[in-house]
């Protein structure tokens, strides 16, 4: 009865296992697509681009992001923070640095409301930039509206983020992203029988699904199936079976990246890809996604709500270089990071117009609301804020496909055909926010 023999037996077994499978080599993945910039730290054109650190009285800016609790959307505020750091190294807001930090709501709407109330009550917070919340835009907006506080949100996910008076997201949102995939399928003549997959979450998955159905109905597209699953689902067989049975020719997946990856893995395991065109919304558009899902998914299509990460262009280059210089090496280089960066950049531009001695919540709010016609090569169409009860300025997106494990451009901008956007489009024209 000696533990030592048992332990050595274990070691021996491990050793045998090792030796037996040592022939399985490390797969050569080519290192994924690392979206690196080409500008050195000293030459970054952030804010005033003076090269002098700002030393004045700090300007407090906050954000709320869902960073823990099951999903991590913190790439947006991380990018915003990187850009603000760069601005502070380059003269700040006419000499005043931006004191930026974000809070994690842990995917709990109660906590979102708490954090929003905290920002609303803290008069020194002049504005919110680069938020990324998976929940709770409605409860947060109620607090902001009372306190005249505005947010240039990086990433909004649920419907409420796009129907709020004080929240204006830079991203297009899952509904636009999904509808535009459908439009792309339509253009390509592949929208004969479409199956949509999403999350069964209130004000989010059901809202997107309804959008697809509305667009499909308006344009005579046959949606052969809608499957909304539990966020904790792990058994994808029923889904795959339903997709097979439905005779779908294309599939639109509207799930967070990790869940999409799990679905794709299950499809691969069943070898059920077939001739179906598989697509997903911008939530899986990440530089590493291609290498995550593997070679089986060559030709997989994703929507990108902003410019592709490896594209050229002034702002895209600045974003990549700022990330290289000021963000952690493992901070994601994805659409949402671009959105956070752009939110920070547009905020900086607007606030730089203000008298540095008179930067208050009131003046900043006015400056933010006044943003219109903001052009960027990251966007398809100019972005704007404007006083309104709904904000969805970004409604034109791009499509990419995986080639050699990396997302490459498939189409340039497609304007959204979501019927629910009518009032937004009308506002754009009547208020002169674009064009």
């Amino acid at each position: 009865m000696s533990a030592i023999t048992a332990k050595s037996a274990l070691a021996l077994a491990t050793g045998i296992l090792l030796a037996a499978t040592l022939s399985a080599c490390v797969a050569d993945e080519g290192g994924g697509a690392n979206a690196g910039g080409n500008t050195s730290k000293d030459e970054l054109q952030c804010g005033l681009a003076t090269g002098e650190p700002a030393t004045g009285d700090p300007i407090k800016v906050g954000a709320i992001a869902t960073a823990s609790g099951g999903v991590d959307f913190s790439s947006a505020p991380k990018a915003a923070a990187a850009y603000f750091d760069c601005v502070n190294e380059n003269g700040g807001i006419n000499g005043r640095p931006i004191d930026y930090s974000y809070q994690d709501d842990a995917l709990d709407p109660t906590k979102t409301a708490q954090l929003a109330a905290g920002y609303a009550a803290d008069d020194s917070v002049v504005g919110l930039v680069g938020d990324a919340t998976f929940i709770g835009c409605d409860v947060a907006n109620a607090e902001y509206a009372k306190a005249d506080l505005y947010s240039i949100t990086g990433v909004g996910v649920p419907q409420a983020c796009f129907t709020s008076s004080n929240i204006a997201p830079v991203n297009a949102g899952p509904r636009q992203s999904a509808i535009q995939l459908l439009q792309w399928l339509e253009q390509e003549g592949k929208a004969d029988a479409v199956f949509q997959v999403g999350l069964n979450t209130q004000g989010n998955g059901d809202w997107v699904a309804a959008g697809i159905l509305e667009y499909a109905e308006a344009n005579g597209i046959n949606i052969v199936g809608t499957e909304l699953t539990d966020p904790t689902e792990t058994n994808w067989l029923p889904l795959i079976q339903k997709i097979k049975d439905s005779g779908a020719t294309s599939v639109i997946i509207v799930d967070p990246g990790p869940i999409t990856a799990a679905i794709l893995a299950a499809v691969e395991q069943q070898d059920a890809r077939g001739d179906i065109i598989w697509t997903c919304t911008a939530s899986c558009y990440d530089a590493q996604f291609g290498s995550q899902i593997g070679a089986y998914w060559e030709g997989f299509v994703a929507n990108s709500e902003l410019q592709l990460v490896d594209a050229d262009g002034e702002d895209n280059e600045l974003w990549k270089s700022v990330m290289d210089a000021y963000a952690a090496g493992d901070a994601p280089r994805d659409t949402f990071s671009q959105a956070g960066f752009l939110a920070a950049k547009m905020f900086t531009t607007a606030v730089l117009e203000l008298d540095p001695e008179n930067i208050t919540r009131e003046s900043v709010s006015q400056a933010m609301l006044g943003i219109k016609n903001a052009e960027s090569d990251l966007l398809c169409r100019p972005w704007y804020y404007g006083e309104a009860d709904e904000h969805n300025a970004n409604h034109s997106t791009r499509t990419a496909e995986i080639t050699d494990g990396v997302f490459t451009k498939l189409t340039d901008c497609i304007d959204s055909g979501d019927p629910a956007l009518a009032s937004i489009l009308e506002n754009e024209q009547s208020l002169g926010l674009v064009g």
Partner: protein, 287 residues
């Protein structure tokens, strides 16, 4: 077409059973029902994934993952064992909730929630018999069955296994008979940790590689142990397989599909209530 569901259910069920056997060996030997068991498996899977990402030889990474789970389990047994020996089973189990939270916190701190999949080289090799079966699935089924059988034989035949059974039967008497209680217990912690590590790796490839999810997979695993009435290895194997198959098959029909994930909970609750039907009171004996 129900066959793919049955196959998937068998695979998942066999993994529940494999985990369950690890929990059972520990419970029978030490009286500790380890709620932190899922967290051990999760730690093993996450660590292995990280090492593979760092371009380590995958097999070595898996081995290190399993060893890490073994070491963690052993460490907890070493540190907490003397205390646990003095309290009743409920307090023992409650203490392991602390272990679960601790490991989970460390994992969440180290790994955020990015798109991750633990790809085993065997995932893409497969064949079709009405439905596609991958080599990984075969390995899961074969390994689970083999380990259950091997553990049964080990407990039945080997001196240490006999000592473990003696401890499970009557701890005080076993110690009077000269069994080195502490050493046997630590061995049980190690064996259980290793089984947890193996099943964590396989579970993460068959379900999802996510610390919280893998940590709380201990709940359906517990259900398998309950079906085994906290004593029978074969019962646990059967329990795991039945739970896995019922869950998968019920997911095939639209009317039951949304609730299929509740299968383990329902099965376990029914079994516990059935087993307790005649007892009004269970008197806990401090071991």
């Amino acid at each position: 077409m129900i066959l793919p569901f049955i196959v998937a259910g068998l695979v998942l069920g066999s993994l529940f059973a494999l985990s369950g056997v690890g929990m059972l060996v520990l419970y029978r030997t030490t009286g500790v029902l380890n709620f932190g068991y899922g967290a051990l498996g999760a730690a093993s899977a996450m660590l292995a994934w990280q090492l593979v990402e760092l371009r380590l030889q995958p097999v070595l990474a898996y081995a290190i993952g399993i060893l890490a789970a073994t070491a963690l389990s052993l460490l907890f047994g070493f540190l907490a064992g003397p205390f646990l020996a003095t309290v009743n089973t409920l307090t023992k189990a409650t203490a392991t909730l602390g272990l679960a939270l601790f490991i989970l916190g460390i994992m969440l701190f180290m790994w955020d929630d990015k798109a991750r999949t633990l790809r085993l080289p065997t995932d893409t090799i497969g064949f079709s018999i009405g439905t596609r079966i991958t080599v990984t699935q075969l390995i899961c089924l074969a390994l689970a069955t083999a380990i259950v059988i091997a553990t049964s034989i080990y407990l039945q035949r080997s001196p240490t296994g006999t000592a473990m059974r003696a401890l499970a039967s009557d701890r005080e008497l076993a110690s009077m008979l000269g069994i080195r209680v502490r050493r046997v217990e630590l061995l049980a912690w190690a064996v259980s940790g290793a089984l947890g590590g193996i099943s964590g790796l396989l579970l993460s490839s068959q379900t999802r590689l996510e610390p919280v999810f893998l940590t709380f997979i201990v709940i359906p695993v517990l259900a398998a142990v309950v079906v085994g009435r906290f004593r029978s290895l074969v019962g646990t194997l059967v329990g795991g397989l039945v739970i896995g198959v019922v869950q998968a098959v019920s997911s095939a029909f639209p009317s039951t599909s949304p609730f299929s994930n509740a299968t383990p909970f329902v099965v376990a609750t029914l079994v516990i209530l059935y087993l307790q039907r005649r007892k009004v009171v269970t008197i806990e004996v401090a071991r």
